[in-house]
Amino acid sequence: MSPTDPAAAPSGAADNPVLSVAELRKSFGSNQVLKSIDLSVSQGQVLALIGPSGSGKTTVLRCLNGLEIPDGGRVAFRGGPAVDFGQRVSRKQLAALRDQSGMVFQHYNLFPHRTVLENIIEGPVQVQKRPKAEAVREAEDLLRRVGLHDKKDQYPHQLSGGQQQRVGIVRALALKPALLLFDEPTSALDPELVGDVLHVIKELAEDGWTMVMVTHELAFAREVASEVVFMDGGVVVERGHPDQVLRDPHEERTRQFVHRLLNPF
């Protein structure tokens, strides 16, 4: 289930990122949630967005696929659209932007009235207009990979949270996006179910998928992420290699945040 994009980036492809974001701004009413965010993700990179709640990390994610419309800034995908939110953005531009990424939600957001298999083939068949037999075959392969092939005809409510989230991941993969977005994918799970989901995400990372992930799982971020970005108050406070940001942060705010997460009492 490696990404289909043939343009596997040469090492150090920062010049040619899959995604680049510049000066992203977003306010809700008078509350300025994102003050000017710059990001760039290279092919095969896993970017972990960490930070306290309200820091704007989820909003960054939601600005990348049009769930929120930024007030300003530029979002560009390699080989895809570059959108300048400083100007009027058409629906078509937004749709083109959205089609570059797949999203995994904190609360899974599976379609409760469709079976596992139907959830997965909905996008490929209804949106991408691919032949149903082909979509089903691919969906079954993916389900086998995440250990849920025997659940394909069940409804979401018959699955555990961890199983539902793995279906959510497969639903995003089935569209073969250039980028996978994860919004706190394990935050709603019972602790004993977190491992299964993280295991799947780690495998995806090893397969070379490019990902941006909002997470509170610092141990996971340290192991899987290629870069950690710490946000607070709508700005990027610190970014760098996971070992550096999580073990030896330069900034006091990062230090406090990491300390609090590792020592909650």
Partner: protein, 221 residues
């Protein structure tokens, strides 16, 4: 009171026939049209456009704020005076479907709003347009929520179609009226009509239960 059982026996079939050829087709046609119109009105209210939402609100307000009988009479007896003459059957269908739409629009609107926002977002992130998300994701879930209240509307409508007898549509109640006028057995005939309506509604309630069970299969209990 002496019941003329022979009259009950001979009048039963004409009354049931009035139901089968009048009441039921009238109800089904009006409800189907009414639901389509209701969906349009509900979507206008949810559209975010102040003008469309205002029109929809005014429509619901007028329909709910005026008697069905008056609406029926305006269409059948009123419109001819401005040169619009409509036959009894189409008049009845127009009046009933406009009326049903006023009530069903609010039911459908509430049902759509009851579907969690995350479902719209999930549709969006897999590339669906809002229209496709509405059709494939939201409405199937809204349908489940709206079946009980819409069934109530439908059962009310079946009984309300008796008003069509006043504009000369030959349906269940008009059959009973005509036989009653002829035989002068008002009590017997009207109770008989009531019994037939009741049986129709029992069948509908059973259908509602089955439909609810079918739509509930994907919900945790």
């Amino acid at each position: 009171m002496n019941v003329d059982w022979e009259l009950v026996r001979t009048s039963l079939w004409p009354i049931v026939q009035g139901g089968l050829t009048g009441t039921i087709p009238l109800s089904l046609a009006s409800f189907a049209l009414g639901l389509v119109l209701a969906l349009v009105v509900a979507l206008m209210r949810l559209s975010g456009s102040a003008i469309l939402a205002g029109i929809a609100r005014a429509y619901v307000s007028v329909i709910r704020g005026t008697p069905l009988l008056v609406q029926l009479f305006v269409i059948f007896f009123g419109l001819p005076s401005i040169g619009v003459v409509i036959d009894p059957w189409p008049s009845a269908i127009i009046a009933f479907s406009l009326n049903v739409a006023g009530y069903a629009a609010e039911i459908i609107r509430a049902a759509i709003l009851s579907v969690p926002k995350g479902q719209w977002e999930a549709g969006h992130t897999i590339g669906m347009s809002p229209a496709l998300t509405l059709r494939r994701v939201i409405l199937p879930q809204a349908a489940r929520v709206s079946v009980p209240p819409l069934s109530n509307s439908f059962i009310s409508l079946v009984k309300d179609t008796s008003l069509a007898s006043l504009i000369l549509v030959t349906e269940l109640f008009r059959q009973a009226q005509e036989i009653a006028a002829f035989s002068q057995e008002f009590m017997v005939l009207y109770l008989e009509a009531a019994a037939v309506y009741w049986v129709f509604c029992l069948v509908l309630s059973a259908g509602q239960t089955r439909l609810e069970r079918r739509l509930d299969r994907y919900v945790a209990h």
